[in-house]
């Protein structure tokens, strides 16, 4: 937004982005609520079902997202110092790591689908109630999270273009900063998903 003098209110834009993230906290929060209630109700079933998860892939994915957060944070500092090519390169690395995350997720999902574990499958429906819920939550929560990662990658790609064209520059970093905020949020959601799905066995 701008005042009549054309001055851009960067603080206002940042405030708006934080507010949007607050809404996302509640959005994912609804899923975490279901998880916590059902975990309380089906502690043993959750424990059993979690054995299906591939802890190596989960840990690798966590490391990937943490590193990608590091990269995008650095890319903002780079723009502030006027280093637009370095910044764009860091943004590219962030995107690549995001895609790597999604690829690994794809393989995890495929592994489960191959052994017949997916919503409403005959194999799943024969399992205990808590296990059915666990896998339902797994697909929904990692699925929505993955969707957010994908959207993030697309947005960062746009930011790369703006950085190279200098629409984003040391005097106007708001868009990139807000993109970074979004990306870190997605990272934080995963920081919680990881122990809840991979480490409760």
């Amino acid at each position: 937004m701008s005042t009549p003098t054309g001055h851009i209110d960067a603080a206002g834009k940042k405030m708006g982005m934080w507010f949007f993230l607050f809404t996302e906290i509640l959005f994912f929060g609804g899923m975490f609520l279901l998880y916590s209630i059902y975990r309380y109700k089906y502690a043993q079933d959750f424990h059993n079902a979690a054995a299906e998860e591939n802890i190596v892939l989960g840990t690798v994915n966590t490391a990937i997202l943490l590193t990608s957060s590091f990269c995008i944070a650095l890319s903002i500092s780079a723009v502030r110092r006027g280093e637009r090519f370095f910044s764009s390169w860091l943004q590219l690395v962030t995107i690549v790591m995001g895609i790597a995350f999604l690829v690994i997720k794809y393989f995890e999902w495929m592994a489960k689908i191959d052994i017949g574990i997916y919503p409403d499958s005959p194999v799943l429906l024969k399992m205990a109630g808590g296990e059915i819920i666990f896998f339902g939550l797994y697909y929904v929560m990692t699925g929505l999270h993955g969707l957010h990662v994908l959207v993030g990658c697309v947005v960062i790609a746009f930011m790369m273009r703006f950085t190279l064209k200098q629409t984003i520059h040391r005097g106007n970093v708001a868009r990139l900063e807000n993109t970074g905020l979004y990306w870190h949020f997605v990272d934080i959601v995963w920081i919680y998903l990881y122990p809840l799905f991979y480490l409760i066995t």
Partner: protein
């Protein structure tokens, strides 16, 4: 100081800018909060009218169940009536219409914080509304679950639930963005000198509402998504056959839908807080308490959702706690009622239409609120849940509350928005019909409910017949009243006398600019040196 322009030659925000060839494109592409607000106003009033017709037909059917529609159709009627009135009319309602038009002006700004996101909100609203309406006409039947979409029926019914729910999801996103926009606007764009406690009451309520929109609506969004995932992929979070718990659906649904009623009523109370001082020529009594109570209602309102679920199978402990907290929320609401009445006391009253409607709000909302305490008590609730008592209660607070407040705001701000005046005579005739019809229609529901008549029932045993006939006849008066009210306003738009900048003697910033406002609200951003309701100040009292 007044920037009045009564010469018809000067441009208003309606004047074509010529940027686009077609007027409709120019308006749909506009980022001007006033144009967006006017478009929203037309949309919500149109959907309101559709909802009224549906309600009218429901009451007609109840005169003699089966003569007008069968049971399945009846279920679809009350579902769609609820969905339209709640999601297309009353939740967006005051914020998107009066909020959009007046918030920036009231705080001395030229527009909202994010005008393009404002336009996106409008487009999302239109899209969401169209998707919801689509669910009525697609193959399969219109939704028949009630507007609450309870699982597991909403997962299993063959009706067009996914479409309707997707539409509501999009509408929710529109609501979130509006709230975000308004909260940021109030934080960042108040005019110089306008501290928080010089801001009028209506923006305060929009602020509190914005927080509710931001923090509660996402819970609805994810819940609706769960319905779609259940219908399409068999994800059974609420299906007992798949380990799920239907009560959790109710928790998630009401976690949003209770705060949602505060989205409906807080801005409505804000409008009353604006009207009462002007028409009694007195400062708003206890202004700080009125503003704080808006926040109080919003905060406590987050913790009471369980009172919609007392008979669902929740634990006793939860029920007692929710009932107790429900009683607490009556306190800040009571603060407002007392303060409005105290403002009127010994004031110089002019009972013009805006104040007539505002007083009706105070009366009607009080009845609604008191009956809320009855059903907020655990023991009576066990008898009254699912009966017409509930239907009476929520129509009193939603229609008698927010609905009447919209009528009040329409009359109050009519000259400012349209640049013309309506006929005071027909406004009062319309009001009388509406008021009498309203109470006949809805008070009889308290009686019916107390006698045991269940809600959402197509048919009933003969002992309830008289109550239903009385109620339906009330709906005829109400409908007539609405026709007269809207007819009067519509006539006024085309044939009304030209209105000056300040026909009422209002002291908030919208009355310092022309009627209708120019495209750029203020030639110069005002510098604020006093509070919002200076009626007790020396120079104002002595003014003509």
């Amino acid at each position: 100081m007044a920037q009045t322009s009564e010469s018809p030659g000067e441009a208003s925000f309606y004047t074509r800018t010529g940027r686009y060839r077609w007027a409709i494109i120019e308006w749909m592409m506009s980022t001007d909060h006033k144009r967006i607000g006017v478009m929203y106003l037309c949309a919500i009033l149109s959907f309101f009218s559709v909802g009224v017709v549906l309600g009218f037909l429901i009451r007609l059917s109840l005169l003699d169940p089966g003569w007008l529609m069968d049971a399945q159709t009846y279920n679809e009627f009350f579902t769609v009536h609820g969905v339209i009135q709640i999601f297309l009319f009353i939740i967006p309602g005051i914020p998107v219409a009066f909020g959009n038009i007046f918030l920036p002006i009231l705080i001395g700004a030229q527009d909202v914080a994010f005008p393009r996101i404002n336009r996106l909100s409008w487009w999302l609203y239109v899209t969401g509304a169209l998707i919801v309406l689509l669910s009525l006409f697609l193959k399969g039947s219109p939704p028949d679950t009630g507007w609450t979409f309870y699982a597991p029926y909403s997962i299993r019914t063959p009706a067009n639930i996914s479409t309707a729910v997707l539409g509501v999801f999009v509408l929710g996103f529109s609501s979130i963005l509006t709230g975000l926009n308004f909260v940021t606007t109030i934080h960042r764009m108040r005019a110089p000198g306008m501290g928080w406690f010089r801001m009028p009451a209506f923006p305060w309520t929009l602020y509190a509402t914005g927080w509710v929109q931001m923090l509660a609506t996402p819970v609805l969004a994810i819940t609706l998504l769960f319905i779609v995932l259940g219908r399409f992929f068999g994800v059974g979070f609420f299906d007992p056959n798949k380990g799920g718990d239907p009560i959790l659906y109710e928790h998630l649904f009401w976690m949003y839908s209770h705060p949602a009623v505060y989205i409906m009523v807080l801005p409505a109370m804000g409008i009353i807080s604006e009207i009462v001082p002007v028409f009694s020529r007195r400062a708003l009594f206890g202004y700080v308490a009125v503003c704080m109570s808006a926040l109080g209602i919003a905060i406590v309102g987050y913790a009471v959702w369980g009172h919609h679920m007392f008979t669902s199978g929740m634990s006793d402990t939860a029920r007692v706690i929710f009932s107790f907290i429900t009683f607490l929320v009556a306190v800040p609401s009571g603060v407002k009622i007392f303060n409005w009445v105290a403002t009127l006391y010994k004031g110089s009253i002019s009972l013009d239409a805006p104040l007539l409607f505002a007083c009706s709000f105070i009366f009607t909302f009080s009845i609604g609120g008191l009956t809320g305490l009855i059903i907020g008590s655990l023991a009576p609730n066990l008898h009254l849940h699912g009966t017409y008592f509930i239907v009476g209660h929520f129509h009193y607070v939603m229609f008698g509350g927010a609905g009447i407040s919209i009528l009040a705001g329409l009359h109050y701000w009519f000259p400012k928005i349209t640049g013309r005046m309506y006929s005071e005579r027909y406004a009062r005739i319309g009001w009388l019909n509406f008021f009498v019809g309203f109470h006949i229609l809805y008070f009889s529901m308290f009686v019916l409910g107390f006698q045991g008549m269940p809600r959402r029932y197509f048919d009933y045993p003969p002992q309830y017949h008289t109550g239903h006939v009385v109620s339906t006849m009330g709906s005829w008066f109400l409908a007539l009243g609405l026709v007269i009210i809207f007819g009067n306003l519509l006539y006024g738009i085309f044939k009304g006398q030209r209105a000056p900048a300040d026909p009422w003697g209002g002291k908030t910033l919208e009355w310092t600019i022309s009627s209708p406002p120019p495209p750029e609200n203020f030639r110069e951003i005002p510098v604020i040196t006093r509070g919002a309701y200076p009626y007790d100040d020396e120079e104002v009292r002595e003014a003509p």
